[in-house]
């Protein structure tokens, strides 16, 4: 089927991926990038698987007789399939079409993949070995329930046991084996019951692995030796494996009986469930040396062509399977359809039916395989499951699981796979109250707080609840929230491991991958949108699975179970509160009427009880599912009253007296019961109040956290302020320093001024002396003039008057020649200080000189 769509859709890219599922347009690009990687990975893993499976076949060689047996069984199964098909033909449905849908990949397209498929077909037998290992797990779970029943009814012990086994004889196929083995089982369970719970469970666990209850109990000593002795192991295994199939049929039988019987013990089954993982830990390993290799292979992904088969092996389809059961369910479904809603149960059934009808076209809309016929299969599958397990009925999300399984395997196998997944792996998840899924959300939140405290703090701060993000992941098992390749890879591991650990690990891995991005978001809307879109683009499936499997080894089933126990009461209180508001009065009245009717007619009630114990799995009145607690109570009351009622058969009068006494006693009891009921109710109210208180305290806590946040902010602010102050101080200091520098500079300037002053004084002195010198020069000049005059006077006296004008001119010229000399010297002196001193200073000092010499200078210029 998957192959078919695979081939078909290569041409349809990129609107759909290679599985035929719609791709979001924004992811088409990335999908194309990864398509090649997927292809390479696929090739690699199909090689690895081929090697591994061939090796397994090699191992299984010594017990070929067993293989033959298996083959025979397979053909038998195939025959039955044909039979069913032909029967459907009788109902006027088109078998040929159906075949194309319901048939496994091996038959769907022989031309294209014939060779490959053939290899797989050869190898397929070796899957049986894996199947054995896996189905041992299924049976073990059942055995645990088995044990419980034995313990629960210790007073009735093995007689009751055979009774229940006998009751299951309606599954006619196994009658003879059953008859043969029931004695043995009876013996062994009786033996087991004498051991402690743990011990007996252990023994039955390993017993199932060998499928050999008889030899286990009788020759346990011998087996111990075999386990120690490596050489003899394989031979022993070969011998022992022969009755394996008998073992299966036995457990299938008990399965039938248990489903009915265990109902009453539903509550306690949960608790014992906690011990499962502990047992899982060791029971596989010694007997399946290749288990580790298989685990790593599964983590690497299951090849596409093999996925359907491998998943069936993991879930234990064969172990679950009861011949014709599916067919009967469908037939019954059709009958009730014809009869139309006659009793109250059918209102619930019609509710599912309507919901299923609404949801079928909305399941993988547009997927090429979900055409008219595909949808019909889907409808049958969902209706059959709802019939099979009325406590779940139909819940949205199952439509996707059923659709996915239908794409990978034939219809009936898909049904059993769905049964395996929902009844074993996800028990209590999709029931009316969805208790377990709510519990898991609380558990996940706690794990998140442990693992990513900062991220959760941030989400808290934004007001985002972890469950907003993880809720849809868990409920849909990642279908529609991750790209398909990743979904399938996660499912591979999840189905292999047989519990919900992988669910948690994957969710944690997603948080690890995308936490850093989520921390940067600014409001609740952005955070949620981002988480959705990031998860939707997780195309790197190998990275995701590897991170999930390797990064969170501490998250184990044991740890989860521990946390679930811790959180379950809170959920139960809320659920109770809800249902109380809705229908408490109806419920309590129901209890009251039941008590009433019991007093009136206890025997009929006991009988009713017995019939329900008798294993009528298909019985319409599976009310015990709905009211487990009350039925437990009934049980208790039963036992209280049964013995005297049934055992007493004396004569009439005595009987009357006795009955009167009994009546009084019962009235007394009734009164005390009423009191007790009231007490319980007040206790419940108390609890509810406490819950309110819890909510309040949670609110207070939240507020406190906010306060803490604010305080943090405040301290931050204060720090900032102090930092600012520091900066200011520094600035001030710097200012002071600069001011100091300025004062220094001013002082310097003053000093310089002083120096200037001194210089000026000096200069003035110099000028004074210069003036003096000038005076002297003038004096000298006038003296010179006088001498010259004197000389000329003398010359006048000696010379002729003719020569006189000539003399005068020469005298003029000498004077002229002398004057420039004196002035030039003075000028030179004058310019010297001007260049040496500041110009301003020099100007002021020059003034007097200038004033004293203007006439001279002008005269000189002329």
């Amino acid at each position: 089927m998957a192959d078919q769509s695979f081939n078909l859709l290569h041409t349809l890219e990129p609107r759909r991926d290679s599985y035929g599922f719609a791709l979001r347009p924004q992811h088409a690009q990335r999908y194309r990038q990864y398509a090649n990687i997927y292809k390479e990975e696929e090739e690699e893993r199909s090689d690895r698987w081929k090697d591994f499976l061939e090796q397994l076949v090699g191992h299984a060689q010594p017990c070929s007789s067993e293989k033959e047996h298996k083959h025979a069984l397979q053909t038998e199964a195939a025959d039955q399939k044909v039979e069913i098909n032909s029967e459907r033909l009788g109902e006027g449905e088109d078998t040929s079409n159906k075949k194309s849908i319901t048939d496994g990949s091996s038959e769907s397209d022989k031309e294209t993949k014939a060779s490959k498929v053939q290899t797989w077909a050869q190898i397929r037998s070796s899957l049986d070995v894996i199947e054995n290992m896996m189905s041992s797990r299924v049976k073990k779970n059942q055995n645990i329930k088995d044990e419980l029943i034995t313990i629960g009814e210790k007073n009735l012990q093995s007689i009751e046991k055979t009774g229940s086994l006998k009751a299951s004889e309606e599954f006619e196929e196994e009658v003879c084996i059953n008859g043969m083995l029931s004695d043995i089982v009876k013996a062994s369970t009786a033996e087991n019951a004498e051991d402690g719970i743990y011990e007996s469970k252990n023994s039955s666990g390993s017993e199932v692995i060998f499928g050999n209850g008889v030899s286990r109990n009788e020759n346990s000593a011998m087996e111990e030796i075999a386990m120690d002795d490596g050489v003899s192991y394989s031979v022993n295994a070969g011998e022992r494996k022969k009755p394996v199939n008998d073992g299966i049929s036995v457990s299938v039988d008990t399965n039938g009986a248990e489903n009915a019987v265990s109902d009453g013990f539903y509550g306690s089954v949960n608790y014992i469930g906690a011990e499962k993982p502990v047992e899982d830990g060791f029971s596989f390993d010694p007997f399946f040396p290749w288990k580790e290799e298989l685990e790593s292979l599964v983590r690497g992904g299951v090849p596409k062509d093999l996925r359907g088969e491998v998943w069936q092996a993991f879930v234990g389809v064969k172990a679950h399977r009861v011949e014709r059961y599916y067919h009967d369910l469908l037939a019954q479904e059709r009958n009730t359809d014809k009869n139309k809603e006659s009793d109250d149960l059918s209102t619930a059934a019609s509710k599912w039916k309507r919901q299923i009808e609404k949801d079928i076209p909305r399941t993988f809309p547009g997927h090429p395989a979900l055409d008219e016929n595909g949808r019909n299969s889907l409808r049958r599958l969902l209706l059959a499951y709802a019939q099979h397990n009325p406590s779940v009925g139909y819940c949205q999300a199952m439509n996707f699981f059923a659709g996915l399984l239908l794409l990978l395997m034939p219809e009936e196998n898909a049904f059993w796979a769905l049964v395996g997944i929902l009844d074993d792996y996800f028990e209590g998840y999709y029931t009316e109250e969805m208790i377990e899924s709510q519990v898991d959300q609380l558990v996940f939140e706690e794990l998140m707080r442990d693992r990513f405290p900062k991220l959760v703090d941030h989400l808290d701060y934004l007001g985002v609840q972890v469950a907003w993000i993880s809720g849809p992941w868990f409920l849909s098992i990642f279908v529609n929230t991750l790209p398909w390749e990743s979904v399938l890879r996660v499912w591979d591991v999840l189905l292999y491991e047989g519990n919900r650990v992988m669910l948690f690990r994957t969710a944690l891995a997603l948080m690890e991958l995308y936490g850093p991005a989520l921390v940067t978001t600014k409001d609740a809307g952005d955070a949620t949108t981002l988480s959705q879109s990031l998860a939707g683009s997780t195309f790197d499936s190998s990275q995701l699975v590897l991170t999930a499997c390797m990064g969170f080894l501490a998250v184990t089933e044991a740890r989860l179970e521990e946390l679930r126990e811790k959180h379950r009461p809170a959920v139960l209180v809320v659920v109770e509160e809800r249902s109380k508001k809705g229908s408490i009065w109806k419920d309590s009245k129901g209890l009251a009427t039941k008590l009433y009717s019991f007093k009136h007619d206890p025997v009929s009630l006991i009988e009713e009880k017995k019939t329900s114990k008798g294993g009528e799995m298909l019985a319409k009145g599976d009310k015990s599912h709905l009211e487990r607690h009350s039925s437990n109570l009934d049980d208790l009351l039963d036992r209280l009253a049964v013995d005297p009622e049934v055992d007493s058969l004396p004569d009439l009068q005595e009987q009357v007296v006795w009955l009167k006494v009994e009546l009084c006693r019962l009235l007394e009891e009734k009164r005390s019961a009423v009191l007790r009921a009231e007490e319980l109710e007040t206790a419940l109210m108390e609890m509810v109040k406490q819950d309110n208180r819890r909510q309040l305290s949670a609110r207070v806590e939240q507020l406190e956290q906010e306060v803490a946040h604010l305080q943090q902010a405040l301290t931050d602010k204060k720090e900032q302020e102090s930092a600012m102050l520091k900066v200011l101080m520094r600035v001030e200091q710097e200012q002071k320093v600069t001011e100091d520098a300025r004062i220094c500079a001013e002082q310097d300037a003053a000093a310089q001024k002083y120096a200037v002053h001194v210089l000026q004084e000096k200069y003035e002195k110099a000028v004074g002396s210069l003036v003096e010198m000038e005076k002297r020069v003038v004096m000298a000049e006038s003296m010179l003039e006088a001498t010259l005059q004197y000389q000329t006077g003398q010359v006048k006296a000696h010379c002729s008057p003719r020569a006189l004008p000539n003399q005068g001119s020469t005298q003029e010229s000498t004077r002229k020649s002398l004057l420039p000399f004196g002035l030039g010297w003075r000028d030179r002196n004058k310019s010297k200080p001007a260049s040496a001193e500041e110009s301003s200073v020099s100007k002021s000092t020059n003034e007097p000189i200038d004033a004293s010499t203007p006439q001279k200078r002008t005269s000189e210029q002329e």
Partner: protein, 200 residues
């Protein structure tokens, strides 16, 4: 001298501080509103959201498991913007157990029914009661009759819707995600009815 220059610095620092701290938070102009859609399965909750947020209509939409989230911002005439953070919940009855997770703290609840299905109308009434009991007290509720385009198959009259809404102080509108009729009006009307001071 130094002091006088540092004073304005410090005071401006104080002014900026709180602004930075509440940088992402809404003020009176930019509201952020948590809205939750409730109603029976298949009445078209997801379709209304998709029409409003993406403007698309897909007649073959997928079943919503748990809940899904989308957000959209609209601008009003008075220049305020409203960012709707929309939680679209699963419709099946049993998912009601998980609904409080989503409607807790929601400022707006849009209760949707299908006008061709009286059953979905009574389911809507259930939700209204539930919200009145467990929702926040000042929650704004809208009653929406969807699939208004299928008027020839109508089984819940407009008057019934109006009456019930009036009785419970809700806002009522009939929409069609298919034809986009009244979808934007629905959200705009809701935005107008938000209490401005307390909305966040």
């Amino acid at each position: 001298m130094g002091c006088s220059s540092s004073l304005p610095d410090r005071s401006s620092g104080r002014l900026v501080g709180p602004n930075l701290e509440n940088g992402g938070a809404p003020d009176s102009k930019n509201l952020r509103v948590k809205l939750v859609l409730l109603g029976d399965s298949g009445v078209g909750k997801s379709c209304i959201v998709l029409r409003f947020v993406r403007g698309q209509f897909d007649p073959t939409s997928k079943v919503t498991v748990g809940a899904s989230f989308l957000s959209q911002t609209i601008a009003l005439q008075d220049s305020t913007t409203v960012k709707f953070e929309i939680w679209d919940t699963a419709g099946q009855e049993r998912y009601a157990a998980l609904a409080p997770l989503y409607y807790r703290g929601a400022a707006v609840a849009v209760v949707v029914y299908d006008i061709t299905s009286p059953e979905s109308f009574s389911k809507a009434q259930y939700w209204v009661k539930e919200l009145q009991k467990h929702g926040s007290p000042d929650i704004v509720m809208a009653l929406v009759g969807n699939k208004a385009d299928l008027h020839e198959k109508r089984e819940v009259s407009v008057q019934e819707g109006i009456d019930y809404a009036e009785k419970n102080g809700m806002f009522f509108i009939e929409t069609s995600a298919k034809t986009a009729d009244n979808i934007n009006q629905l959200f705009e009307e809701i935005a107008k009815r938000l209490p401005r001071s307390t909305a966040q």
